[in-house]
Symmetry: C2
Subunit: 336 residues, 2 copies
Amino acid sequence: MNLINHKFELAARPVGVPKRSDWNYKQESVRNLADGELLVKILYISLDPAMRGWMNDSKSYVPPVAIGETMRALALGRVLASKNASFAVGDHVYGPLGVQEFAITNGGAIIKVDPRVAPLPVYLGVLGMPGMTAYFALLEVGKPQPGQTVVVSGAAGAVGSVVGQIAKIKDCRAVGIAGGAKKCQYIVKELGFDAAIDYKTEPVAKALQNHCPRGIDVYFDNVGGDILDAALTQLARGARVVICGAISQYNNTTPTKGPSNYLSLLVNRASMIGFLVSDYASRFAEAAREMAGWIASGKLKSREDIVEGLDKFPETLLKLFTGENFGKLILKLPES
Amino acid sequence: MNLINHKFELAARPVGVPKRSDWNYKQESVRNLADGELLVKILYISLDPAMRGWMNDSKSYVPPVAIGETMRALALGRVLASKNASFAVGDHVYGPLGVQEFAITNGGAIIKVDPRVAPLPVYLGVLGMPGMTAYFALLEVGKPQPGQTVVVSGAAGAVGSVVGQIAKIKDCRAVGIAGGAKKCQYIVKELGFDAAIDYKTEPVAKALQNHCPRGIDVYFDNVGGDILDAALTQLARGARVVICGAISQYNNTTPTKGPSNYLSLLVNRASMIGFLVSDYASRFAEAAREMAGWIASGKLKSREDIVEGLDKFPETLLKLFTGENFGKLILKLPES
């Protein structure tokens, strides 16, 4: 085989919203495998809000992507060749394979997935990092009790849509905040949320007051900014605010907007708790089994927003920040 | 007896820093007791940051002081007359008696204190609400483990000074943030803190980095604003940020400054938890016994900043917000 790989390398630290010129689109020959390595043909690349943070040169939970390094991304592909006893040609695998057509890896942080259990894109959404995030952050950090009210922002997104559905499975009231009538209709009519708030047309604090008459017991935040502040005004006594992300702030060129209403934590004896999914890695398989069961029984639905073509990567990533995407955002690459 | 009472009634909702004209200084005859009531000659009035919040007309953990109502304050006095079987003439009592010379109460929320166990002013500080706040917020919410690093802001104040000393009793490293060389010297030399940071002359984040090489495990916040933001940059994995107050923000005429660095909670899987001392009322006696033991054995020291004269109330209260007070701020009234 004489394979040519195309990939996006980080070229510059973005200021504000990333531009195409913040990456270099490169072409290279695929090298031979060393012992222990496998070659993966990438089929689906997961586009996630966290990718924006990885582009910054700042201390965080993982090192930043270096200038000149292949852009980091979770992806799913098929093994084309293997010198690693744990992986065979034809296996489907998922892991941090990068924004490229072919990846060579030693198998670290790579797991096998079974296309007979769920369609491949679902492994990037409900059965992938977003689903694991929703599952563990809601159940282990938010700790909702039956009858309590769970509010989630980014409710039509890859994480938020699963949060609301698990809240319903756990007999909670689920209220979602999303942008636009279509997304709001979708989470109520298709996913079974009890109510939706369109932050583009409704005053969020007032709408939360209407839809959460006994206050918010668990607020699951994916967005930060003004919506987090609105939710803080409506907390119930002892509420848990799960900080999972802050997509409204990731492209800021000014300092992050801190939550002005944080003293509501004091008044309501509430807590605001940070969450990182990687802390639960040892339990992913357990959660995936339970969620696959919910999918099979129709209790948990997934929706993917699939865009075709590796070269579409820069502009497709931006759909996350404009709120244009609807469901788990995925870049699809041709089979061969 | 024909007694005349002087008192401060709330006259207006303050905008920003309270002015003398936000209260009326009034004189009235002390009325006769009804059955179940007692008359208290007030000896010491506790001046606390929370009083500023009680003056605002906003929903909080207690109703605001009404316009025309006696200004709310915790105070300590001696029973002059009693038609309540639980209290005898000569008893010393502590509770929400107000900013006045004489109080009539039905005994609700009033407890007896023993001047043989500790000097009376100590019942407003270490053995009063500030001490209870320090004890329960640190031990029950902050949950410091031996060897961990506890940082407290307002470290020379009524709450902060006790937090640092209890941290030392529990074998933690205690670092205090205070304003000015005198306060910083005091908390290290007199109270046994491991280090002090003078926020008036040192960049706080950098100083915290120096004094907390393994990060902050418990940050006990009394001040909010920039100091809270600095502490958030230095959290250890799994840190607890106890939100006990935000004195830097109480006189704001603009919205409260939210903590810009709150996403440090996510990166460090940390939590920010609100605290109200009244939730622990059923355990105050237990805590007071333990703290009285620490006082007796010299492990816990107290300092009061005592100003004489009821009419000094408005300007004395402001010492809390300028940082002028040094120790528990108390207004002393004449014995008779």
